[in-house]
C-alpha cells in the first residue's frame, strides 16, 4: 500500500519517455523562434506574432500544443522525482510522487481549459 503508486510505474515511465521525445524533437526550434528570434526581432516581430495567433487558434495546432505542453510536464514529474532521490531525499516517497505527478495532471487540465477557451 505504501508504494502503491509504483505499481503503475510503467505508465509514469511511458509518459516520461514520450515527454523526453517531445522535449527533444520540438522544443529547441520552438524556443528558438518563439522565445528568442521573435522577441529579439530577428524575425519580423508583428508578422510572426499575427501568424502565431492564426496557429494557436487552429484546432489541430491546439491538439499539438496540448501534447507539447502536457508531456514535458510528465517528463519533468518523473525525472524531478528521481532527481530529488539522487540528491539524497529518500523520505516522503509517496507525497513527492503525488506532488510531482499531481502537478503534471493539474497543468494538463489547465492547458486543456486554456486551449478550449481561446
Amino acid at each position: 500500500m505504501r508504494y502503491k503508486i509504483d505499481t503503475i510505474e510503467p505508465l509514469w515511465w511511458g509518459l516520461f519517455a514520450a515527454g523526453g521525445g517531445v522535449v527533444g524533437l520540438f522544443l529547441p526550434i520552438i524556443i528558438l523562434i518563439v522565445g528568442l528570434a521573435t522577441p529579439l526581432g530577428i524575425v519580423p516581430r508583428d508578422r510572426t506574432a499575427e501568424w502565431l495567433q492564426i496557429l494557436v487558434t487552429n484546432p489541430i495546432v491546439k491538439l499539438f500544443l496540448l501534447v507539447l505542453i502536457s508531456l514535458p510536464l510528465f517528463h519533468w514529474a518523473h525525472r524531478f522525482r528521481y532527481f530529488l532521490f539522487d540528491l539524497g531525499l529518500h523520505g516522503a516517497r509517496m507525497p513527492l510522487a503525488v506532488l510531482c505527478y499531481g502537478a503534471a495532471i493539474v497543468g494538463t487540465i489547465y492547458a486543456m481549459l486554456t486551449l478550449v477557451r481561446i
Binding site: V23, A49, P72
Partner: protein, 137 residues
C-alpha cells in the same frame, strides 16, 4: 532472498553522500541533464500563460516579450538545456532500444542516426511552419 536483508558488497553503500554528483564531472553532467526537465517544463508553462494573449492581441504580446529581458534570458538558458537533453536523449536511444530486423540486431549507431534524423526533420518542419510569414509571403 525474500524477507531477508540482502548482503551488500562493501563498495556499494545504500545511501550515497548528498554531494556525490560533485565528485566527478560526468556525474555533474548527469545531474545537469536531469535538471533540463525543470527548464523544459517551466518554459512550456510560461508559454501556456502567454497563449491567451497571443490569441487575443498578438502585437501586444510581441511588444511585451520584446521588452522582457527575463523572458529572453530564460528562453536562452532553457534552449541550452533542451539542446543538451535532445543530444543526450537521441544519442542514447541506440543503447536503450533493441530493434531486430530478421535475425540481426540493428546497430546502435543506425538507431541513433535515425533518431537524430527525425530530430532534424522535425526541426525543419516546425521551423518552416513557424517562419511561414518570413519565407512564405
Amino acid at each position: 532472498m525474500h524477507g531477508q536483508a540482502a548482503s551488500r558488497p562493501a563498495g556499494y553503500p545504500s545511501r550515497m553522500p548528498a554531494d556525490w554528483w560533485l565528485k566527478n564531472p560526468r556525474y555533474f553532467l548527469y545531474m545537469l541533464r536531469e535538471l533540463s526537465a525543470v527548464f523544459a517544463a517551466l518554459w512550456v508553462v510560461l508559454f501556456l500563460l502567454q497563449i491567451p494573449q497571443i490569441a487575443a492581441d498578438p502585437r501586444g504580446w510581441a511588444s511585451s516579450v520584446s521588452q522582457s529581458p527575463g523572458w529572453i534570458l530564460f528562453s536562452l538558458i532553457s534552449l541550452l538545456f533542451v539542446l543538451y537533453h535532445a543530444w543526450t536523449f537521441f544519442t542514447a536511444t541506440g543503447t536503450a532500444v533493441y530493434v531486430r530486423i530478421g535475425k540481426r540486431a540493428t546497430p546502435a549507431g543506425a538507431i541513433n542516426g535515425a533518431t537524430l534524423g527525425a530530430w532534424a526533420g522535425a526541426t525543419i518542419v516546425i521551423g518552416a511552419i513557424l517562419l511561414y510569414p518570413v519565407f512564405g509571403r
